[in-house]
């Protein structure tokens, strides 16, 4: 670890924000992972170009995880390489963590944190707050969680190396996910309430539209994601029909 400088670690962390830049169907995050870890590897294998190329090559291999939590694997991989672990150990470690890091991240960030903050900002809009307030609230609150999670993951991986699972257990991300989901439910209610009664909401549209929206809501709750596309198509078709009707009149 002594060989790593603050600068090389900062460069690897900064590059992690671009880790999905060359996302592809063959290696998924693999090439982005290699791009992010490159400054650290360059430092670690400063005097051994062959070992550098071999290490870079193994990080180009297939890898996938949630982009924010991939920093856990990135930090740990830097630590393993700096500690001189053999290629097979590094490979086995990355294979072992990619599934959990993907599942935990998707559940915590995409399915809970992002919708929760979106709904808070949307509620502000329907409650009549200025647009800049909703936008600023969204960006600040969301990115406190986002950047915090990336930084925590990188530090935890770097500190624990192959034992980073301990940090993940201590952080109890699943429990956090459950808490955020509960908060998101409250915020969904807040959003529905503010859309029902707020400025530019269903109260202005009238009772029949309110009834239709309630039916659509119940349909979405009962059917789930399969209903999204048909509903979007129905809205687009309705708008097209109304516009054509107006044009013909």
């Amino acid at each position: 670890m002594a060989v790593l400088t603050r600068r090389s670690l900062a460069a690897a962390f900064a590059r992690s924000f671009l880790i999905q830049g060359s996302w592809n169907n063959r290696t998924m995050l693999g090439s982005g992972f290699a791009f992010a870890i490159l400054p650290a590897l360059r430092r670690i294998f400063d005097e051994d170009p062959e070992a550098f190329a071999a290490s870079l090559g193994r990080h180009l291999e297939h890898f996938n995880a949630h982009p924010y939590l991939s920093n856990v694997a990135l930090g740990a991989a830097v630590r393993l390489e700096a500690d001189g672990e053999d290629a097979e150990s590094v490979r086995r470690f990355k294979t072992a963590v990619r599934g959990p890091l993907g599942g935990l991240g998707d559940a915590l960030v995409w399915a809970a944190w992002l919708p929760a903050v979106s709904m808070a900002a949307l509620s502000l809009v329907w409650l009549g707050a200025p647009g800049w307030a909703a936008v600023t609230t969204f960006l600040v609150v969301y990115n406190l969680g986002h950047v915090g999670l990336r930084a925590w993951g990188f530090r935890a991986g770097l500190a624990e190396g192959r034992d980073v699972a301990r940090s993940l257990t201590r952080a109890s991300l699943s429990a956090w996910t459950e808490r955020v989901r509960a908060l998101a439910t409250l915020l969904l209610g807040l959003l529905v309430g503010s859309v029902m009664a707020g400025e530019g909401g269903l109260a202005e549209a009238g009772l029949p539209w309110g009834g239709l929206a309630a039916a659509a809501f119940v349909g979405g709750e009962l059917v789930g994601h399969r209903l999204w596309r048909p509903a979007a198509i129905a809205v687009v078709a309705s708008v097209a029909l109304v516009a054509t009707w107006g044009w013909l009149l």
């Binding site: 671009l18 830049g21 090439s31 550098f52 807040l190 529905v192 239709l212 929206a213 516009a243 009707w245």
Partner: protein
């Protein structure tokens, strides 16, 4: 000329969705407001962005899944909605945005396939090549996002220019029509958060707070 600038904005915002940062400036609420502000009509940008955000509450940039591209769709929607006055333009803009989100999603899939062709094999890894291919993929994503926005904005502005002024519905009915579609997304989200049966108390408390907040304001 304005459409060209907006296309570049679309390219930049598209980068944020997956390739660079993921600070979520690409979410419809943000990109709609920013685009509206850039076009001198922040209010329309906010309305269109908020409506599309409602639709895309259940759309996440997760892994290899194909998802509607919210950023370019929203820029196109706002550029279209500001091509004429009135709620008809907003309704048409949102509808065009929903269609264009699918187009953007398809182009992302195509780009990901193309990226895979250029990624070096592990045995032939060279640091400069890894860096240059990664940066080239980022640049390609920017170009893709800009092109998707350019074509969408031109098509959308033409469509709204032709049909927007003849829109026959009142403002309330137009809004109702759009909110019915958004309600489906809200229902889907409740299901994914645990479902009504499990979450009914929190959900009901939220509704009460929302209604009370709207009355107070």
């Amino acid at each position: 000329m304005e459409v060209l600038w907006i296309s570049l904005l679309g390219g930049l915002l598209a980068l944020d969705a997956t390739s660079a940062g993921q600070f979520m400036v690409s979410r419809p609420l943000i990109s709609g407001t920013v685009t509206g502000w850039a076009l001198g009509d922040a209010a329309t940008g906010l309305v269109v962005g908020a409506l599309l955000e409602l639709y895309l509450l259940v759309s996440f940039p997760s892994g290899g899944a194909r998802f509607p591209e919210g950023a370019t769709a929203t820029v196109v929607a706002v550029a279209s909605a500001t091509a004429a006055a009135g709620t008809g333009a907003v309704a048409l803009g949102v509808a065009i945005g929903l269609v264009w989100g699918q187009v953007g999603g398809i182009t992302i899939s195509v780009q990901r396939k193309l990226n895979g062709r250029f990624i070096p094999e592990p045995g032939t890894a060279h640091p400069e090549r890894v860096t240059s291919i990664h940066l080239a993929a980022l640049a390609m994503d920017f170009v893709r996002g800009s092109a998707v926005t350019l074509v969408g904005a031109l098509t959308g502005r033409f469509t709204v220019g032709a049909l927007g002024s003849a829109w026959p519905l009142e403002a309330g009915d137009s809004l109702g029509l759009l909110l019915v579609g958004g309600a489906v997304s809200a229902g889907i989200l409740l299901r994914s958060l645990g479902g009504f049966r499990r979450r009914r108390v929190l959900f009901a408390v939220g509704i009460a707070l929302g209604v009370a907040g709207a009355r107070l304001v």
